[in-house]
Amino acid sequence: MSSISLDGLTVRYGQRLALDQVSLQVPEGSVYALLGRNGAGKSSLVRCLLGEQKPSAGRALLLGRDVWRERASILAEVGVVPEDPNAPPAMTARQLSRFCSRLYPRWDAAGVEARLKRFGVPSGTPFGKLSKGQKGQVSLALALASSPRLLVLDDPTLGLDAVARKAVFEELIGDLADRGTTVFITTHDLAGVERIADRVGILNQGRLVLDEEMEALKARFRRISFPRSREAAVGRLAALAPVAVASRGWEVDAVVSRYDEGSLPVEDGPEVTSLTLEEIFIALTGTPEEGER
């Protein structure tokens, strides 16, 4: 069963198309990473996913139910970390935990306290006075406290330093190991998400240009370099579906999306290297990620 099922999801803002017929499935217990550059449509997709925004067309099912119609009951089983942590500024983390505890069927208040302690976030400080990173950590602690079947994390590491980012992902890995929660995460921290994601989707200008298992993705993408003098190799490159080709002096440097070990003979002198998720992302979306600079 799919925890998330998007079917032809389309969002328009006037004439502008923010999401164009996006369809995807997130199997139960998996970790799905949705990547995309700023303005690619991730936030619109997450708002639709949480039932905050009505799609112009298509629909979003969470845990098998239409989220626009049944948002409140579905969210009892969903933990959410928004992109911009947004709790009332006067409430402390402890008050927020108490507030939320009355809304969810299960609530682990001690778990919230323990996580905040691990993150080093004071639980008696008003939310409005916490740093952006601390706010995100409070949101994550709250999201995990209801033992959700599904976690929706909208760029949870935005604004966090490297240590805090590591703590977030470790928390997630720990939680996943404990409960096997389904996770839907959008992030610019590609290195972090690469460690935990089972499946990856890439949004580019509102269109889902990639939706694939992480292992399969990494298996079919390679960087291939070979001398320009090997004209036969240049000819064979087309069959490997290059997504980015660059000439560097005497060499051709290409990222291919259908790598097959036997397609470039040894006499072509290819140098084949595996790619990180970030490299694949950059190759697919054109230019380096702004968030990573």
Binding site: R71, P88, R102
Partner: protein, 628 residues
Amino acid sequence: MRGFAVVFGREVAERRMLALLAFGLGLVPLAAPWMPGVGRENPAELRSAMALTLGLGLSAVTAILLGGSVIARDLAERRLGFYFSRPLAGWEIWAGKLAAAAALTLGSALLVLLPTSLLSGLPRLDSIDLPVMAVPWFFLALAICLLELILLSHAGGVILRSRSPWVALDLAAAAVFAILGWDAFRRLLLAGAFIPAQWVPQALTLLVLAGLLAAGAVQVTAGRTDPRRGHRLLSLTLWGVLLASVLAAQGYARWVLAAAPEDMDLVSQVKASPGSWIGVCGWDSRRWFEPCFLVDLPTGRFARARSVQASGATGLAVRFSPDGRWAVWLEPEEGGGRGGLLRLNRLDLRRPDAPPFQANIWYPRLPASLALSPDGSLVAAIQDGRIAVDEVATGNRLAAVPVPGLGAPVRLEFAGPGRLRILRSDVSRDLGNPVVVHSIWQIWEMDVATRRLLRTGGFEDRLDSAKWSPDGSRILVLEPGERATALRDGWTGRPLAALSWEGAVPSGADFLSDGRIAVNVSREGGTEVRIFSPDFSAELRRLSVPGAGRLRLAGQPAPDLLVLDMKLQERRGRRSLLLDLATGSTRDLGGDLLPQGGRLFLDRGGRLLQLDPGTAKLRPVLGREAAR
């Protein structure tokens, strides 16, 4: 429901300092009697007034601030998502937040009143002169107003913070709503439909409340965290409800004002003309309105005439020309542009297709006297101590001269083309018997063309009984103390003839249509009507009237018929009789009828009855049964 309680509790808890502020403010009135420059005569009343003022002030400010921020600010500052990412239904978020704003608003007002109430009892409302019965309604209305203020502030907050171009449409829709609502109210008020006019703002207030509630709910539940979509939904719902409401108010006003004579259940006022037309007002119980009409009874043709308020009463200010061709009446100025002026209208009663004509003649208030010339071309009125004569067709003022003499009631009548007679009665008391009031009549004549006033005569009338002949040439005056009736000249007041009554007491007299004079007298053994020649020199007939009671001559439905109104002595009540002047026979028309001159009567059920002189049968023509 649990979500509602959680949101409500959180909102209240977050603003708990407001309670402390309110209670602190509530202590201020306790010190009021000792404040400098404040009277100390009635400390309890002073505290009440101050506590009420502070309570109302604080609750109004709280309503505006909380209403405008409790949702709209969260929405604009992107904090509403915190609630929407929880298992909370949209309505729970909306209702929880607004209910908290309402509770804080009303609660803060009550907390301000608490210390004063503990010390001097519940606040008294003497200063606003409210009847005791109305106090709960006053507080209910106040609570509704505060709730409406919260919701209005909420809507305003969402609209302004969305910074969307839809604001222009909101302003346009608000203007349309205000204009149409005010127009419906004003038209009803102008027509004298005071109860429906009162209902329109009351209903619109409640519908605005309903519209604001629905719009706020839709904005939050369907617009969710999107400020622009929320604004759009709020505007569509709010203006959808309000524009439908105001169109309904317009439709209601139109329906009320479309009342026709046959809709009247109870006829309350009748003014008969010399012809077949009448001026009539009556209660329409379906519309809760007392419309007035000019109605031609044989054909059913009618013209609507709005009533005029004067001295706390409303009625139809209509005059008919002596030949029955013209009717003029006054109506409150439509549009209210002339500050509550009354405008003169005229209708040609003989032309079936003639529409009412609005003359360019206005009066600041109901004139003390209004007269229409025999040909319907001139109208004379007394206003602010002046006699004004205007030409109806053009509105030109032909004359405006001061009323001769000082004070005292004045009556105007046209005594021929271009000739106006002014009758003024100065009241004086008999020094020997202050109860006896004498009317000393002065008769003046004014030539409209030259605007010259001339006093032509006068006479004394001890019982204010003077009755002018239809052509104004003669006056009948009763002098019961001397058991005499005098016929005087209509221009000079000089006596023309007098009759002394031996063994009888005259109780009424009138001119018949052919110039003869009818006098009803009481004498031992009964009452009778005596008919005299026009010069009062010869008694032509003496007709006995059966039954005992005080008799009044109440109209002449046909040349040889006279309606008598007898107030019965033995028991309360009255009977109407029809006296045949040719044969002397009388026919009983029925009890408890109010003769309205000539052939018309009002019965106790509020029906207008018309007499058929041939059969002496009464037929209902207007009122509940006539409508059926």
